[in-house]
Amino acid sequence: MKLLIKNGHVVDPANHVDGVCDILIEHERIAKVGSAIKVDAHTVIDATGKIVIPGIVDMHVHLREPGREDKETVSSGTKAALHGGVTSMLAMANTLQTIDCPEAVRLLRQIIEKTAYANVYITAAITKGRMGEHITDIARLKKEGAIALSDDGASVDADNIMLEALKKAKKAKMLVLCHSEDKRLSAGGVMNAGFTSTKLGLRGISKESEYKRVQRDIDLAASIDACVHITHVSCKESVEIVAQAKKKGIRVTADTAPHYFSLSEEAVSGYDTNTKMNPPLRGKDDMLAIQQALRDGTIDAIASDHAPHTENEKEIEFDRAEFGVIGLETELSVSLALVHAGALTLSELIAKLTRNPAKILGIPKGTLSVGADADVAVFSKDREWLVEKKVFFSKSKNSAFLGKTLKGLVEYTFVKGKRVYPYAE
């Protein structure tokens, strides 16, 4: 079975492709990328005027299953992903029952095999129950199918335990993703500490609670020459610390989420709980520093931190509402604003959504190389759409961009050569 995507503007940073050409897909894989491919294809997709990219690799997603199927499932979350052009994602370990033992990894793997519409990779916890006390059986978790480690939602407070975990992860050749937050400094806070929190009378979360822990995590990794990844970088100081470390040759990588480079703390005015996440939206100068860090390469990847919550958990008082927003279905469009504004080239942006996260995770994704799995997204760069609850495939609707008009619409998504989005009516 042959499928030809014709005449699209192909952007594949992994292969330095950035121009109009055709893509031939055969036996679930990329068979050829070139101009005016002449072939008798079973299906031809006309992508004239559209952008064709490797399917997006989102390295920070909460799918909530097993345990909180009312918020999201592997099925609904991956369906949402495809709507956003995301074909591969890394599921975080903070499900109701932490993914911290081989049985939990196996169960999740089975759910994924049975119900996922896209590729889901598994993160296991660094410590049991993400309590920061007892390190998990890292080698066995890997054997069972976990590809990365994170206590996301929490940070391992004790330096000696974190160091030990980094050593074990290094030995097992697994990446550790750090949710860098010192909860002793952020406790009780619900938004960034600053003039806006003062005005709103809300308890602040200082930037120190993030960047001091970023520094600690990097220092520990550097001391044993291990790789470490800082996830959801939100402030200027963290960016500076990561940049310094990279300069010194420390093997650190970092991601940020679209809301950190498109919104600032001022969005919280009005107490919209869909602007409440952790880390919180920071100041305007932080937002600009994140944009700059994407430009200069300090931040390698963009990840959604897709965090679904039910309306019951969000449509309440601000200080009582859950932290987190959904993002799989808006991340491409929100990120494209950087291209429209001239802050990044299209190719630079797509690298941060595809090749870079795949490389960091060591997975054979995020590329249109011949022989690679044919995971492809096709989108219109300039088509606008209104973000409304009804457009989401996610079970949850807690988007920070509700009511906004975004530019850039996913038209088709392919996984292993099969057109999986749009869905049949």
Binding site: A193, G194, F195, S197, T198, K199, L200, G201, L202, G204, G270, Y271, N312, E315, I316, E317, F318, D319, R320
Partner: protein
């Protein structure tokens, strides 16, 4: 100038003209309070609910009296007796109250922003009677009303607010209202009780009480809420009184006619000495009296502007 808002959530969003309109309207309602018959039929047949998620006596009673003097029917709901304890959400409670055909909801809540959230989900008018650390607009309005009545104007006045600014909705509402009306505002407290970046609101910050009192035409003394001190970081009570308590000795160094205000309830010997509270500078009880006129004005204006109520 015509009032157009269905709710009163805070003073930050209001224009100078809107604040002046409330104060002007309050002046005519104060006249009503001096009559033998203190009641006007302005809102007869309408209903007001006092929805109080935090204990309060003076604010609730003040709203209740203000409502009754406008001929509103009043229902009081306190969390102890409501289904809130059974886990009903704020929005559900609001919608249930609205289903009872209530016209105005006056709400006190411990969460900042609660009034704003409620107002988005009900057609009834919402009047914020204090939300968390955020705002307590009617308190600031009655403070300003008292200042204007006593000193003839607000423009150009020097007003100092002393006490726990960080956790105070009264301070925030006063800062917005006073600065909009052209007063020079100074906030004074130990550093730990000054909120981050408050200078950006256009106020002067000082940690020295004498400095705060030196040029002040009025000092608004906040209640010290030691119960908020979870980690023992606040100064101790005696130490606080020594450094920040308003006493006769301190006032001797201030302007001769300085006004002393307090939103109540006062802690004698903690933030204010008894002789000051009961002395010639104090307008604390006049504030209480003025609270009714100001709240009548607010209820009257929001009801007038709400098509749902006029239906």
């Amino acid at each position: 100038m015509k009032w157009k808002r269905k709710d009163l959530l805070g003073l930050e969003d209001l224009s100078r003209e809107e604040i002046e309109l409330i104060l002007e309207t309050a002046r005519s309602f104060k006249e009503v309070s001096k009559r033998e018959i203190k009641k006007v039929p302005a809102l007869r047949g309408k209903t007001l609910v006092n929805l109080f998620y935090e204990p309060s006596t003076r604010t609730r009673i003040s709203f209740e009296l203000a409502a009754k003097r406008l001929s509103l029917d009043v229902i009081n709901i306190a969390t102890e007796t409501s289904s809130v304890r059974k886990g009903e959400t704020l929005i559900d409670t609001g919608k249930n109250i609205e289903a009872l055909r209530v016209d105005i909801i006056v709400m006190r809540h411990s969460s900042s922003g609660a009034a704003a959230i409620l107002s988005r989900h009900v057609r009834a008018s919402v009047v914020n009677a204090g939300d968390g650390w955020h705002e307590h607009p009617t308190q600031a309005l009655l403070d300003m009303f008292t200042l204007k009545e006593k000193l003839g104007k607000i423009e150009g006045l020097h007003v100092s607010i002393v006490g726990d600014i960080s956790h105070s909705r009264v301070a925030r509402s006063n800062i917005w209202g006073l600065t909009k009306l052209g007063a020079q505002v100074t906030v004074c407290a130990p550093k730990i009780l000054i909120p981050l970046a408050i200078e950006q609101a256009g106020v002067r910050v000082t940690y020295d009480l004498d400095d705060a009192l030196r040029n002040a035409d009025a000092v608004n003394v906040l209640r010290m809420q030691f119960e908020r001190d979870e980690v023992g970081a606040f100064p101790k009570q005696l130490e606080y009184f020594k450094n920040y308590g308003i006493t006769q000795e301190r006032l001797a160094k201030a302007k001769k006619n300085i006004l002393v205000m307090h939103p109540g309830p006062i802690n004698r010997g903690i933030e204010i000495s008894s002789d000051v509270a009961d002395g010639p500078h104090s307008v604390i009880l006049e504030q209480v009296t003025n609270g009714i006129a100001v709240r009548m004005a607010v209820l009257f204006l929001v009801a007038q502007a709400n098509e749902y109520i006029k239906r």
